[in-house]
Amino acid sequence: MPKPSNSPDAGRRNFLKGATLAGAAALATPVAASTEAANPPGGSAKATVPGPRLAAAETMPPSKDPVTQTTSGGDFMVDVFKTLDIEYLAMNCASSFRGLHEAVLNYGGNTKPEILTCPHEEIAVHMAQGYAKIEGKPMAMICHGVVGLQHATMAMYNAWCDRVPVIVMGGNIIEANKRGPGAEWVHSAIDPGAIARDFVKWDDQPTSLQHFAESAVRAYKVATTPPMAPVMLSLDAELQENPIADAETLKIPKLSKVIPPQGDSAALAELARMLVAAENPVIIVDRVARTPAGMERLVELAETLQCAVIDNVGRMNFPSRHPLNQSFRRTILRQADVIVALEVNELWGSLNAFSDRIVRSSKPNYKQGAKIVTLGSRDLYMKSNYQDFGRYQEVDLTVGGDAEASLPILIDQIKRLLDDGKKSAFATRGQKLAAAKLAAVEQAKSDATIGWDASPITTARMCAEVYSQIKDEDWSLVGTAIRLTWPHRLWKFDKPYQWNGVSGGAGVGYNLPASLGAALANKRHGRLTLAFGGDGDFLFAPSTLWTAAHHRIPILYVVHNNRAYHQEYMYLQAMAARHGRGITNTATGITITDPNVDYATIARGFGVHGEGPIIDPKDLGPALKRAIAVVKTGQPAVVDVVTDPR
């Protein structure tokens, strides 16, 4: 078969041509190579023209045990991926998809998709999650039958909760009589997708190549339709490996993406009236911006109304230093008369204060009587088992539709209702909010001064030192540790790619690999990618660093090393205090000390530049400088910063 060019179309043409020729040859000369039949025992193995193999191939009847083939189902699968413009296939190699693996390399030329070698399936899925949020399109991953998929599932759940499209594939051997003894049995299942069905949007196990083509295109379409989510395809090994029997009938269907649905125009008009009439409207956002246009539209909406925006930072929704960004002044909800939630998954959590005490209780943190409106795609698709939807929040108006797609209509409706009086009132409101914003920033700076020279280093100092080094670069912060708020309090985020959200499902082990996936997407744009990550998170998948080094993905990864699973430290302290005993014992099972982990040495072991452990804050700036210099050469670097807890 001719080596395909890098052009998807050319590759597909080549594949179809080769498949057709092979088929035609088989029809015209129904032969197969059988070396044993062609070489009688004891006979000369030395061929003479035309030689026994060729003679056998041309004259002997088909063998029941052919040893070569000219096509494979995996080749066709590669053509499907090229048609879908899948750029990467992240994987931890395994026999159940050896057919596809080989086809990607030798038929597909290891481009579109290019293989990303990952030492763990969680890394592969999380890389795809981080990549999709920056690049705006999914990548694929493939894992081994059963056990590989079991490794992948937590990351799939994170992507599900984060509304991120990931194309997950897994190998399998469907037919029992085709499975070899041992591993092929324990790594096969009659319904592999069952383990993940609660947190994928759609899954299938194709039984023919045409079935695969249609399901792959459908999977892409389903995954990228809001609300977005992972999808899964189980790939039969025989289907990947064996010759194509029906090449002339195969067709790759055209992908027609779903246009993200806009909210009902009458409902948006009603919402516009409510917002214009309100004295203190507040907008809460979480995963609004799914394209760079999202932030721009949200800014236009807020500025048109001169109203407060509270950003839950599930995406890069709103500039951090914008005068209307009131994310760190949530008490303004108590003055709000209209609250609009845009693509907020768990609104109840944003509108209620919850007490984690012996008797758990809650109370609204918004003014009673305030009108509450939701606009988003969340209500359009939901599953029951896993409870990521949160507690039911009463609202006055629910508008189903993609918020980003609906904003132009809403903004237009609002502008139609404005007169000079309204504009003047809005401007006055905006000025007050701007003053409050300035005060909040100054408060953050003042807070950051506490313990500035302390060791372990305060998280405020760590974040200030990092910002000082990257602020003049084209930077993109793609990860953070739990509750590390300093970047959003102190830094100026104003570009659509400068933030990449969080894990979604709070599954620890997300941050390092997802940040690397985002860095992969940023690489082509020449951005300086950086991430903070907790030490506990780091230890779930440290071999991500090997992938970073192997594929030369530049990223500055700053380990927020508080030497503990710190959230649990506080919970355990609360339990001990509640029980009136042992409040000095709570480090056991919590801290990551004795021995202290040396993350820089770990990094070096994986072929990554490592700095640290940095204990004295005066050493941090120079270490960051050295690390960034490495990143600018296209390589990853880790800086281990020994920090105070939060």
């Binding site: 700076k445 807070d447 950051a448 313990g451 602020k471 959230q567 001990a576 105070d644 939060r646």
Partner: protein, 128 residues
Amino acid sequence: MNRFTMRLIYVSVLMAGAVAALALSPAALAQNTASGDAAKGKLIYLADGCFTCHGRVGQGGAMNYPAPAIAKLEMPVESFVSFLRDAPNDMPAYSTDVLSNEEAADIHAFLQSLPGRKPTKDFPLLNE
């Protein structure tokens, strides 16, 4: 694992009460009769895990909600001890079974001894 949502924005009315309770009023300052041992207090503060929420230098932190900065605490010691015995919201309450009045006073003295915040103009990195 974290039992609650892993969100970045934590400013909450829940902790507002705690912050207010820890803030200084002139009347409270006048009644401040702290007599604890700051050096002992530091050891207790670290051993008893106070630092896990409020930081080793009292800079504050976050659990489910922000934990306020308590460096250079100006709350009177009596109020501080009372606060610990019946802490509001997510703040654990520390009974005399685990923390004596004397130990609490030592912690109070330590917190008072911390330098606290400084003028931001003196920090070039915070003005970039």
